[in-house]
Assembly symmetry: C2
C-alpha cells in the first residue's frame, strides 16, 4: 500500500514533486489541486485527477500527505495552517524571519486536527539548515558561511522582469571565488554581501528600449542588486531560450571551527550541492519528508515539525534494520 500524495498548485516546484514521487515506489500521486479551472490544466502523470481546491475537503480520507507548493509571501501563511486542519501537510516556506510565526500557526492547526505539518523543507531552508545546525553543535567554537550558486535566482529574475522595457531576464547568483578560497583554507573573515556573491544578469530588452536606463535601474535596485557587484548582458530572446532556460542552482554551507586544549586544531565541514534543476531537487527533498510526515502521524505524532525535529530514518523507505546494515 502506497503513501497517497496530493499536491496543491502546479508550477515548477509541483512538477518537481510530481517527478520525485515517480522515483519512489512507496509514494503515489493521487490528485493535483488547483485554483485554476481544472479543465485547463494538463499534468505529466497520466490518470491522476486535477481537482479544484474548492473540493479539497472531500479528499480528506483519500490523501495521506498534502504537499503545498504556494509562494511564501502570501500563499503558504494562509494555506499551510488551513490545510493542516484536514491533512498531514508539508511546505517549503522560506521567509526565514517569519518561520517562528508560521510554525505557531501550523502547530496549532495540526495539533487540533491530530495531523503532522512539516514546514520549510527544501535545500535552504532545508538541507542547508540541517547541516548548519549539526555542524554548529559538533563544533561549538566556529563560524558558519553559506554561499549560494552558481545558480538562477527566480526572485531576482522576476525583479528584473518588472522593469519597464524588459521582456525577459535570467539572474545568476555566483559566489566570489576569493571569499570561498579564504573560508575553505580555514580563515574566518566577516564578509559584506558584495564580498561574498556576484550577480550576473541576462536581459532581453524591448526593441528600442533605453538599455542604459535598464542597466542603471537593475544595478541600483535596493536589496536585490545595489549591495552587489552586478553585471548586465543584453541578449536576444532566442539566446536566452537556448542558453539560459534551465533552473540550475546549488551552493555550499561551510562551518569552520577549532578544537583542542589550546584551540590549536582547525576543522572545515563543507556541504556542497550542484543541482541541474533547483525545483526537482527541492521536490525530491519534499518527497522524502512527505514520507516522514506519514510515518510520524501513523505513530500518533501530531503538530508542526521542522527538519531539526525528525530522525532521518523517517525519510527512508527502508526499515531501521536495513538502514543500520547498509548505510551506517
Amino acid at each position: 500500500m502506497s503513501i497517497r500524495i496530493g499536491i496543491v498548485g502546479y508550477g515548477n516546484l509541483s512538477r518537481g514533486v510530481e517527478s520525485a514521487v515517480r522515483q519512489n515506489d512507496d509514494l503515489e500521486l493521487c490528485a493535483v489541486f488547483t485554483r485554476r479551472d481544472p479543465e485547463s490544466l494538463k499534468i505529466r502523470t497520466q490518470g491522476v485527477p486535477v481537482v479544484s481546491v474548492n473540493e479539497i475537503e472531500g479528499w480528506k480520507d483519500k490523501i495521506d500527505v498534502l504537499v503545498i507548493c504556494g509562494g511564501s509571501a502570501t500563499d503558504l501563511p494562509e494555506q499551510t495552517p488551513k490545510y493542516a486542519s484536514m491533512f498531514n501537510v508539508i511546505d517549503s516556506f522560506d521567509t526565514h524571519a517569519k518561520i517562528p510565526q508560521h510554525f505557531e500557526n501550523v502547530d496549532r492547526a495540526a495539533k487540533a486536527a491530530g495531523k503532522v505539518g512539516i514546514i520549510s523543507i527544501g535545500w535552504d531552508p532545508g538541507m542547508f539548515s540541517l547541516l548548519r545546525m549539526v555542524s554548529t553543535a559538533v563544533l561549538p567554537e566556529g563560524k558558519n558561511y553559506t554561499f549560494w550558486g552558481k545558480g538562477v535566482s527566480q526572485g531576482h529574475s522576476d525583479a528584473i522582469r518588472r522593469i519597464e522595457g524588459v521582456v525577459d531576464a535570467r539572474q545568476y547568483t555566483i559566489p566570489v571565488q576569493s571569499a570561498v578560497d579564504a573560508v575553505r583554507s580555514g580563515e574566518t573573515p566577516d564578509f559584506t554581501a558584495r564580498q561574498q556573491h556576484l550577480r550576473e544578469c541576462f536581459v532581453v530588452a524591448e526593441e528600442g528600449a533605453d538599455k542604459a536606463r535598464i542597466e542603471k535601474e537593475i544595478k541600483e535596485m535596493p536589496n536585490y542588486f545595489a549591495d552587489y557587484d552586478t553585471t548586465v548582458h543584453f541578449i536576444s530572446a532566442e539566446e536566452l531560450k537556448a542558453e539560459h532556460s534551465g533552473l540550475p542552482h546549488g551552493g555550499f554551507v561551510i562551518r569552520s571551527g577549532k578544537t583542542g586544549f589550546d584551540k590549536e586544531n582547525k576543522h572545515i565541514i563543507e556541504y556542497n550541492l550542484k543541482l541541474d534543476s533547483n525545483p526537482e531537487f527541492t521536490g525530491s527533498v519534499i518527497a522524502a519528508y512527505a514520507r516522514a510526515a506519514y510515518k510520524l502521524n501513523s505513530e500518533g505524532v501530531c503538530g508542526c515539525k521542522t527538519i531539526f525535529d525528525i530522525p532521518v530514518s523517517y525519510l527512508s523507505a527502508l526499515s531501521p534494520e536495513e538502514l543500520r546494515r547498509t548505510l551506517l
Copy 2:
C-alpha cells in the same frame, strides 16, 4: 546544572572527548575510568578524579552519560552492553559488519536498565552515515561514493609497526584525484580499491634493517596494502616526529543522482571534512551526541539508538525555538 560526563579509557579519543567537553558549557567532565593504576594516569582537566573501572558501579548516580572509548575489536562489544546496564552510554563502534549484533546487545541491556545507548558515533560511522542515508533518501536513483583522506590511518600505521625491523611508521590514505574528479563531474563509475585510494607510508627502520624486505612486506600485506598502489618512504625518527606527528584526516561522501521525468537532470551532493585532528573531531561529535543521550533519557526514552534515530535538535544546547529562529 550541567550534564555529567564520564569517560572510560584515556587514549587519543578520550582526550578528544575531554577537550570537546570543555568547549560545551552545559557538559561537565566528572571522572575518567581506567583499567590502569589510577595513580599512574594524569589527565588534562584539573580536579577531575581518575578512578579504577572496578569502582565504576559506585558512580551510577554521579554520571549522566558514560563515553566508552575502547577499541571496536574486543573492548566495545563487551563494554558497551555491560555499562549500558548502569549508565546512558555512547561509543564509536566502527566494525560496520558487526553493527547489527552490537545494536542488539546494547539495546537489550539499555532497555532492561531504562537507559539510552548510542552506538557508532564519530565521522565514519557517524556524520558520513548520516549524510549517506539522507542523500540516498533524497535522491533514490543514484550512487554513493566515500573517499577517505588525505589523512592518517592509525590501523594501517599499526600494521606497519608490527613488521620486523620497523621502529615507527605513519600511513596516509589519499583519494585518487582522477576518481574524485570523475565523481564530482557526475560520472558514476565502479571503482576497485586501487582506483579510488592511494597509500603512502613513512617508515622509520632499525639501523641495519633490510629496507627492501620491509618495503616488500608492506606492499604485499593482504587487506591493508596489497590491493592498493602503495609508496614507502624511509625517514629518520626525527623527521617522523617533526613532519608526521599530527593525526589529520578527513574525506568526503558524494551522492550522484538523477531526477526528472526522463532522468535528464544530474545532482551532486558532497559532504566534505578537513580535520586537523581526527580524535578531537570524533570527540566533538561524541560530545554532541552525549548531550542527545541525556536529553532522550530525560524524556523517558531507553534502548539503543544510532545517528539515524535521533532528531538533530537533541544535539544542541539551544531550545527548539532558538534553533528555528537562528539556524533554520
